[in-house]
Assembly symmetry: C2
Amino acid sequence: MTTLEITTQSITDMEVRAHDGHHASLRLWLRLLSCATRIEDTIRQRLREQFGITLPRFDLMAQLEREPEGLSMSELSRRMMVTGGNVTSIVDQLEKEALVKRQMLLTDRRSFTIKLTAEGRSVFTAMAKAHEAWIVELLSPLGASQQEDLHHLLGILKSRKHNPTQEKT
Amino acid sequence: MTTLEITTQSITDMEVRAHDGHHASLRLWLRLLSCATRIEDTIRQRLREQFGITLPRFDLMAQLEREPEGLSMSELSRRMMVTGGNVTSIVDQLEKEALVKRQMLLTDRRSFTIKLTAEGRSVFTAMAKAHEAWIVELLSPLGASQQEDLHHLLGILKSRKHNPTQEKT
């Protein structure tokens, strides 16, 4: 084999590997997205059927449940990753059903915080219990140690900054 | 230790374990969802900034790209997991920009299929190339073998039917 042939062969191998790697990442991403979407769709459907509530409204109540002091509209928007307009209409709906209340701030009477009402807290507790049981069920194809492995790998994916030098190796 | 004490202790341990297990599944689900959401949001933002296209429109073109013979509206709706109304408005937009075309069926002139135009195929190819590079970058915190492990675990989560007897162990 001549030097040229060896070089050409090496380049071809690298390209094939790189291309396979690209496709593997894309396949992994599509699988990750499809797992998340499927579980989320199931949760969305069960919340609607069993509690007559939409997923964004459940998510908003979940944010409030963690904050007994309440949250401002802007903080709610930030945590929900939706636009202010959407949060306002969800809060309006929940307020109409007496599940959340607006409370004026003593320090700044032009601002207010959103809190769960006692009724809202009680309704949310029942939904959260069902929600947790659904998640346990939907993740149960994986055993406890597999779930730990998955948690660990997703932690790396989530927390670590992208290292551009890795792509060159 | 009396028998009663031993029994009480065992029950308590089981409850704590079960509860920890429940919380672990919930934490895993929230991490899975947040990883998928973050990557999807980044993709959505880059598609808008660099190609001036929405993610649903990109997804619809991706479905068509795989089907040179085209797809019916109902089949497109099914694959996109959105309602018919949404698909219609996306197709209308893309048709206005000459990226897709409606084609009457010879077998049933009341029906039609949607296809990419030559221009649509060329635009999509450029976007798909950028999209693949973004995915490679966004998944790069994980090495190749970690990506394989993740792919494997998500495969179990996705493909296996839930086994209710597992919950009792």
